[in-house]
Amino acid sequence: MLRLSLPSLFLAAALPAAAEINFRTQVLPVLGKACAECHKAPQKDSSGKVQNPKGGLRMDAPSHLLKGGSGGAGIEPGDPDKSLVYQRVLLPQEHEDAMPPKGKGKPLTFAETELVKNWILEGAKFGDWKGSDAATTAATAPGSPAKRTADPLAAGVTEAPADVLKKIADLGAIVGPVSTDSKLLRIEFVANTSTITDKTVDLLKPLAGNITDLDLSNTKITDAAMATIGTFTRLTRLSIGGTSVTDAGIASLKGLVNLDSLNAHSTQVSDAALATLQSLRKLKQVHFWKSRVSADGAKSLQKALPGSSVSID
């Protein structure tokens, strides 16, 4: 407790309390110049190979700096000894862990390392600097980037009109792209379902070319809405479970060649609807529990659609 070292006493005296270090104007230029090249979001290089941030450490947003790379916290507010970013720049140039690595840039000057240290001691405040955080997190989520193949359905889709999206969201619906970077929409009416009617579905008409996933379960829609839904040509998933839809409604779906999943449990749909469904060759999953479809009907549909699962229980 009493082991106050001389330099820190000196520093405390020398630093006027008011002169707080500004990250954006003072610290960022130092780190930006000496480090950013190797410690930023994953990038494709000229050969198309993805270059990940070195050591897993990104320095392009506060959260990344705080979190650090594979070795732990990059910045530990108030504690330079536990801040890897500071520790690595202190190392002699010959040290294999020194940053920037030997021959890959000029080591920081004493004034610069002191600046970083004092900024950490002051609590590592980033002020108004946000970096490029938001733009990059979704793209770097595991499993998302490389695996995403071009979706043939997405071809020719235009941007959905924002005012329509807003109108629908105001009704309590979840409305949004099916995944990041997609113009295809999923729309889910799960709140206030007793207020969702054929009129609500009319509101979706301007989005006819965008909607690919639509959940109207337990709403008050009727076969009239199904006629509108039948024009949503990019529809792949449709849930109308618990509605009063009948065979006439299903007949309206005959143009939906992309449909691969239909949930019609607890509806009035019967075996008479199966001929329409049989013509939708992409159908893979159909749910008929508590509808009027018979066990034999379900079996024959499943047989007619290779690789499908048609369940009544």
Partner: protein, 431 residues
């Protein structure tokens, strides 16, 4: 130690007394009014799951007597027998006969391993992804999910915790608005959220206005940010009390055969409530089944617990499937650790805590059913393949939902946290 607690209490006391005196109702539990609606959330993979039902087996479920019997030696299984399942080549314990019929929906996680061998610490790590410390309360998994994905139904809480210790569902540094709304008895649903019959609608409105003005006065007197955070509480509470979605909380609305399907146990009814809530757009539901701490008389205690689990879990999977909800709903069974392969004779054939190796499961939500990930040796005592930590499990849940699992949330103390710490999602489980 728990930063939001003191002020939470005063807030609660304030609301309860205000609500009781002014409205004639108690507004407990708080329902996380200010949490964002999920309309802005875009999953990072198509067809991501929308909701999670997390079944927590509290006490440390014996893996050898439930999920992991395949290829195990007789002497470690003891009285437990293996039965075949609806998935060819896969077996489960005879303690789970109904679940065995749903195996085609289930992926077993047989490579589970944790560093924590005590209940509280083990549950903490399982449900929060971080080691328990005295200085901070990390948010519960459900809090994370609602924080990152928002609510599906703005009229209802995003996170509901059934038969679960409220501490285990606490939002920690994210604050009370992300805490799970506790339901003690599934059959009783949200207590006190109905307008009492003795108060007319007009009267009620008047009382509400009065309460609102009292509340505003209170806000001007007290400038505590976490109190202001709940500023919308009255309007939210009002919405909740009048809202048709509230029937999601009422399992009495279910036909008798449905209540029977899930089993009459508290856990079974909790599973039924969980299904109803998810159907009404609740994002994350935890249902806890306790009593798995079978140090003594394991071969009597486990079958008794397993019966409730089997009824509830099998019904849940079957029911979600036939309603076409299973693809959108990830069902997870977790527990804090496993139990020893050694059967301890002095304890009437008991089994002790065993963090080195245990089992969990996932079903629905895009998970390939009828499979397993990870493997133990033939004694069930050592993970030999596909080692999976609680953090990996939580990362996998995040992945199933299409969440950015690397999204950092900074605690009020300035430290960075993520939903699954350094966990890696098991992407192989998904199509």
């Amino acid at each position: 130690m728990i930063p939001n607690q003191p002020d939470e209490l005063s807030r609660r006391q304030l609301l309860t007394s205000l609500a009781k005196s002014a409205l004639g109702v108690s507004l407990l539990p708080l329902t996380g009014p200010t949490v964002a609606h999920g309309a802005d959330f875009v999953p990072n993979r198509p067809r991501a799951a929308k909701s999670v039902i997390f079944l927590m087996m509290s006490g440390g479920m014996s893996h050898l007597d439930t999920l992991d019997v395949m290829g195990k030696k007789k002497d470690v299984l003891g009285k437990t027998e293996a039965i075949s399942t609806s998935a060819t080549g896969m077996q489960l314990s005879a303690n789970l006969p109904k679940t065995a019929q749903q195996m085609h929906h289930i992926a077993l996680l047989n490579g589970m391993n944790t560093t924590q061998g005590a209940h509280e610490q083990g549950q903490y790590l399982m449900t929060r992804s971080y080691i328990m410390r005295g200085t901070i309360v990390h948010p519960a998994l459900g809090s994370w999910v609602v924080r990152l994905a928002g609510k599906r139904n703005s009229n209802l809480p995003g996170y509901v915790a059934i038969s679960t210790d409220p501490n285990q569902a606490a939002g920690g540094f994210m604050g009370a608005k992300y805490s799970g709304v506790p339901i003690g008895e599934p059959g009783q649903g949200l207590q006190d959220s109905m307008r009492p019959n003795s108060v007319t609608e007009a009267d009620f409105e008047k009382r509400l206005k009065l309460a609102d003005s009292m509340n505003k006065q209170f806000h001007t007197l007290v400038s505590n940010p976490s109190i202001r955070e709940h500023n919308n509480l009255y309007s939210d509470a009002l919405r909740l009390m009048r809202c048709e979605d509230l029937k999601g909380f009422d399992i009495a609305k279910e036909p008798t055969e449905m209540q029977e399907l899930y089993g009459k146990s508290r856990f079974g009814q909790g599973c039924l409530l969980a299904r109803r809530l998810v159907e009404h757009g609740v994002r994350f539901v935890q249902v806890t089944l306790g009593g798995w701490d079978t140090h003594y008389d394991n071969f009597t205690a486990v079958p008794a617990r397993a019966k409730d689990l089997d009824d509830g879990l099998a019904a849940l999977l079957k029911d979600l499937h036939r309603r076409g909800m299973l693809n959108d709903t990830l069902v997870v069974l977790g527990t804090e650790f496993g139990r020893t392969p050694e059967i301890i004779g002095e304890h009437q054939d008991g089994r002790d805590h065993f963090p080195q190796a245990f089992s969990c499961l996932m079903a629905g939500g895009g998970v390939h059913g009828g499979t397993f990930y990870g493997k133990k040796d033939d004694k069930g005592g050592k993970v030999v393949e596909g080692l999976t930590t609680p953090q990996d499990l939580n990362a996998t849940i995040g992945y199933a939902l299409g969440l950015p699992v690397d999204q950092v949330v900074i605690s009020p103390s300035g430290r960075p946290f993520t939903i699954a710490d350094k966990g890696k999602p098991i992407t192989a489980l998904f199509s």
